[in-house]
């Protein structure tokens, strides 16, 4: 056995965009143990939501939990609040929520892929992926008015309708994006240099994923079929708009890349189906009820299962709001997946987890 060295990575590091700290124990550059710390950015949002804001305002507060999956938070919160006040939202609002969630998934997955490319030492692919991601940002701006932190879902429905011409623009942009996505798939799938950095690296098995309760693309890359869109039809009709689960087997960085890329085709199909079959109805169900009782909601955010628990007490202020982000569930598996890999591979492995500490620490 060689000498053991402890090497810290983060919380501020050139290859880490998130304030996450890992302490690796290495033997001859090989990682034999890892300790993770996530305590750098706790913002007390749950407490603020239960003390400073009325329950209708909370959807705007939780939209600030994360810049990337803002719409997942506002939608999950709106759904849990709608359960507490016992209302059903209009059908058009459900479709518009799904539209923005899928546009959001496209930009989030492309951001993750670009960081994997960058951390694998492939700067040109980072730039190309970010360039192609711009279409999703433009679409989100056209639909929501903002590129990030779009306060789109509100308690009872959605805050705005599609402006004239936006549907046509989205369909046209999707056509432009399709060959760009094909090109990205070809590079991530077949590029020899990238394969050296990504194939067989940072792998976990399906059994490990089950044992460690992994969620999102991280789990699906191992073959574990978990996707909330496949499970909950009562709140958003995912199967009606063409949802299909994407799985891989290898469970490594490459498999995670491929799951995310192939999920973009599914997202594109869902968006196309929504635009072509958008039902006519009101946007919001009004109610004067106050939240009462307790409820839980799960929603598939870009990184996996997002969980909201809320408890009301017949007043404007919630008794308790609990947010469980997907990265939080994946921390045990992150620690596990480093073992046996070279320290030099750690940045690419971390990027492939797509960690979001903003969500985790909220």
């Amino acid at each position: 056995m060689g000498k053991l060295y402890e090497i810290p990575l983060g919380a501020q590091h050139i290859s880490l965009l998130e304030p996450l700290h890992f302490k690796f124990t290495t033997e001859n550059e090989k990682i034999v143990d890892t300790v993770a710390n996530v305590y750098y950015v706790h913002r007390g949002i749950e407490q603020a939501c239960c003390s400073k804001f009325k329950f209708r305002q909370v959807s705007f507060v939780v939209g600030r939990v994360c810049g990337l999956c803002s719409v997942s938070h506002t939608t999950a919160y709106s759904q849990v609040a709608e359960k507490l006040v016992k209302i059903e939202i209009p059908r058009r609002a459900k479709y518009l929520r799904m539209l923005v969630i899928e546009l959001d998934r496209i930009h989030s997955h492309l951001l993750c892929l670009s960081h994997v490319a960058e951390n694998s030492g492939f700067e040109a692919l980072f730039m190309k992926t970010m360039q192609y991601r711009e279409f999703a940002m433009e679409m989100l701006e056209a639909v929501c008015g903002n590129r990030i932190q779009y306060d789109f879902s509100i308690v009872g429905g959605v805050a705005r309708d599609l402006k004239p011409g936006v549907s046509k623009m989205i369909l046209e942009k999707l056509k432009t994006f399709k060959p760009q996505l094909d090109e990205l798939v070809d590079i991530y799938q077949n590029n020899w240099t990238l394969s050296l950095k990504n194939k067989g690296v940072g792998a976990i098995t399906k059994e490990d994923a089950l044992r460690l309760n992994v969620v999102g693309p991280f789990a699906r890359a191992t073959g574990l079929a978990v996707d909330v869109r496949n499970e909950t039809e009562d709140l958003l009709p995912w199967k009606e708009v063409g949802f299909e689960m994407i799985l891989d087997k290898a469970g490594d960085v490459h498999a995670r890349n491929m799951v995310r890329l192939n999920e973009l085709y599914v997202s594109m199909r869902i968006i196309e189906n929504i635009i072509n079959g958008l039902p006519e109805s009101a946007l919001v169900t009004e109610t004067k009820a106050f939240p009462d009782g307790e409820a839980v909601v799960r929603l598939e955010a870009p990184r996996g299962e997002l969980f909201y628990y809320a408890k009301g007490n017949k007043t404007q202020i919630l008794e308790r709001l609990k947010i469980k982000a997907p990265t939080f569930s994946n921390v045990p598996a992150m620690v596990e997946a480093f073992k046996g890999n070279e320290y030099g591979s750690a940045p690419a492995i971390i990027a492939s987890y797509d960690p979001c500490l903003s969500c985790t620490s909220r």
Binding site: Y39, Q47, N213, R298, Y309, E319, V331
Partner: protein, 113 residues
């Protein structure tokens, strides 16, 4: 949400009898400050029937230590560490300083007296 009310003495055994990694997905542990008591909730969903969300619920006095379930659900250490920091709940073999810095005042999510 399927609530299973249990007690501090029985909760670990109940979860041990219930949890099978290939059947159930462990989601999170939550705690609600009820004033005099704290309700701790262990959340699971069923892979085959995911809308079946099961919550084992226990009401405890704030100074009581609750058992760790990480020998049953390996990944639960993150949720346990979070509860220790944010709710100032004592959990068997779980130290402060994972979600908040170790010298931070514990229990920011507890109601102010």
């Amino acid at each position: 949400m399927n609530r299973i009310e249990t007690s501090i003495d029985k909760v670990k055994e109940d979860i041990r009898n219930f949890y099978k990694p290939e059947l159930y997905h462990f989601m999170v542990i939550n705690a609600v400050d009820l004033g005099e008591k704290i309700e701790v909730q262990w959340f699971f969903s069923e892979y085959a029937n995911p809308s079946n969300i099961v919550a084992f619920c226990v009401q405890i006095n704030p100074d009581m230590e609750i058992p760790s379930i990480r020998d049953i659900v390996e990944s639960s250490w993150v949720a346990e560490a979070e509860l220790v920091d944010l709710m100032n709940i004592k959990i068997q073999n779980t130290a402060k300083g994972f979600v908040l810095e170790p010298d931070f005042e514990s229990g920011p999510l507890r109601k102010k007296k």
